[in-house]
């Protein structure tokens, strides 16, 4: 019962973190830009998916003039990006050149007969029923519709995040070991534990896998 609950909560947390990263990390789309414009947009319950009102592109709390970029994917489906400054806190793209990006996008407009393909770096999702759009960060021309990118940056970011989590865990365990445990446990108990863990260590050290596990465990101690 408790095991199932723990798994459910853990899985749920993993999904939430995954969705959060998928929304926030930059991705590149290869598209053909068909139109650029700005339109007065009412931002209400979905405000969390738009820039905060104080970054300059937004004049009032609920209605603001937002720049949009319309495009077509290589498979013929359409996609619409918004083009807003991100401000200085979150998401940490620190983008303040929306006007320039809009000018670049307008410059790259093309038709189906004479397509100019561009790679647009964006974060966010297009969900029609919530009226939310991914935010375009930057764009550059590419050779054709079949260009693909290896996500070096995102892999680096995720590795760094995992390392940070491990460091925090390590710090927490050190705090626990040095500050909390000595206060709680009596000396005799600590010695008993040491004995027991020495025994298991000796037992584990017999196999290669056991030694590897002991080494991994030592990273977290």
């Amino acid at each position: 019962m408790w095991g199932a609950l723990k798994w459910t909560v853990g899985l749920l947390l993993l999904v939430i973190v995954g969705l959060f990263l998928h929304y926030t990390l930059p991705q590149r789309d290869v598209v053909r830009i068909t139109n650029t414009y700005n339109r007065l947009t009412t931002v209400g319950e979905n405000a969390i998916f738009y820039a905060t009102p104080d970054v300059g592109t937004a004049e009032s709390g609920t209605t603001r003039d937002i720049r949009f970029i319309e495009a077509v994917r290589p498979n013929g489906k359409v996609i619409v990006y918004r083009n807003e400054d991100t401000g200085w806190i979150w998401p940490p793209f620190f983008k303040y050149d929306s006007s320039n990006l809009q000018a670049k996008a307008s410059d790259m407009k093309s038709t189906a007969e004479a397509p100019k393909w561009v790679a647009i770096t964006k974060y966010g999702w297009r969900i029609a029923w919530l009226s939310i759009y991914p935010n375009a960060i930057s764009l550059r021309p590419v050779e054709g519709p079949d260009v693909s990118f290896f996500p070096w940056l995102n892999i680096t970011i995720i590795v760094v995040l995992v390392l940070l989590v491990l460091i925090i865990r390590r710090m927490w365990l050190q705090f626990w070991e040095r500050m909390v445990d000595p206060a709680v446990k009596s000396v005799g108990q600590t010695l008993d534990d040491l004995d027991a863990s020495a025994d298991t260590a000796r037992l584990n050290a017999r196999t290669r896998w056991g030694r590897f596990r002991a080494w991994v465990g030592s990273l977290f101690r």
């Binding site: 104080d54 401000g87 793209f93 620190f94 050149d97 960060i137 930057s138 710090m171 050190q174 040095r178």
Partner: protein, 88 residues
């Protein structure tokens, strides 16, 4: 503009908290290492003096100074992001 000021102020406060935590952790690890070194035997000094002198050495060592990177690295990362996103 006010957003940038807010980033600098809150960033400095947040990173200062991180700095304090990391330096406490680093000191704790160093003390533990000294304790284990003495417990392993072969040291002529008393335990407390040995640890005290080791910690003094640590205070002037390179590792303690490297903790200042806690401030430097995020600032550099932000500067690089700002440049790549807006000026390329």
């Amino acid at each position: 503009m006010i957003g940038f000021v807010r980033l600098v102020v809150f960033g400095f406060v947040g990173l200062s908290v991180v700095y304090l935590l990391v330096s406490a952790y680093s000191r704790s690890v160093e003390r533990e290492r000294l304790e284990k070194e003495w417990d392993a035997g072969g040291v002529d000094q008393g335990r407390d003096t040995y640890i005290l002198e080791g910690m003094k050495r640590y205070q002037h060592g390179l590792r303690r100074k490297l903790i200042a990177l806690v401030y430097v690295i995020p600032a550099v990362v932000i500067a690089v992001i700002v440049y790549v996103v807006n000026h390329q």
